[in-house]
Amino acid sequence: MNNTIQEIKNDDRLLRRVKLEHIRDDMTAIPLAFKLRKKIGETGLSVYIERLTDYAKTIRDVTLYRLYILSAGQIRDIGLDCMHKPEPDDYSHSEIIGSITSSVSSKLAKAAVYIKYP
């Protein structure tokens, strides 16, 4: 497994997997798609560096999820940061970290752009 930590540059594009329940009819994501799961102790929002992965791998199950994209620069403009945190089965895995309040989740959702896949 490659454990080399990559620097995430502002123009890096990060993919977020969003459940269908958290997508409006116009395919925009609602803020709940960017909430931390406190009960399982999540400390960062999982995202995947686009240049290190492909959509098929990231989406996992096309019947349950859709993909959204944000640039690292957009995330940092909101006052958050992102770090590369490879997982054993996914080298592209990264996390959005910082104070993720409802207001911040809402801003992330507004900034996220839907990827037409599949």
């Binding site: 459940k19 329940e21 958290h22 409006r24 609602i30 803020p31 709940l32 909430k35 799961r37 406190k38 009960k39 399982i40 349950l64 409802s102 207001s103 809402s106 801003k107 507004k110």
Partner: protein
């Protein structure tokens, strides 16, 4: 939710009046007067106007609109969500949170605000959204019973904080 109890849409001879606008109908000459204070006691509201007779108006309890009924049915279904309903560890919303969200929808239905979206969150919270053109209101009924409201004009977030009914109504009208 106290703020909601202070607002009762009343039906009088002239039609429907929203008390948050501080209007009341006089019973003598059938005119509408601005009025600073309206006392709401259970189902009756008494309004006093200088120089006029006391008038009594009866609060009407309307059936929820079709849209509100649709959202209330969706909320009711959330109570049947199991633990880990999203296969990623999500908690189902507790009855108390569902009930708070239902009351909110029912009471604000009288103001004909445009309901747009409702969904359960990963922590047991409930998200409710109203939308009127470019104006959006996002309401969070959080699992810790904290309630939040975020308002947008287009993509600009113009308010984030506690639920403010006056602000919400004005934003969506």
């Amino acid at each position: 939710m106290t703020a909601l109890q202070e607002r009762t849409k009343i039906r009088a001879n002239e039609g429907n009046i929203s008390t948050n606008e501080n209007w009341v109908v006089g019973n003598v000459v059938q005119q509408i007067f601005p009025f600073e204070k309206l006392l709401v006691e259970d189902i009756y509201a008494y309004a006093y106007l200088p120089g006029s007779s006391r008038v009594m108006v009866v609060r009407y309890i309307n059936n929820p609109s079709e849209k509100a009924q649709e959202f209330l049915r969706k909320l009711a279904r959330f109570s049947k969500l199991p633990e880990n309903w999203d296969n990623e560890g999500a908690a189902p919303p507790e009855e108390k949170i569902i009930s708070t969200a239902s009351d909110f929808i029912s009471q604000l239905d009288e103001f004909e605000l445009p309901l747009y979206f409702v969904a359960p969150g990963p922590n047991g919270e409930i998200y409710l959204e109203y939308r009127n053109g470019n104006n959006t209101a996002e309401i969070f009924f959080n699992e810790d019973e904290n309630e939040e409201m975020i308002l947008y004009k287009g993509k600009e977030q113009i308010y984030s904080g506690e639920i403010n009914i006056d602000l919400l109504i004005n934003h969506l009208r």
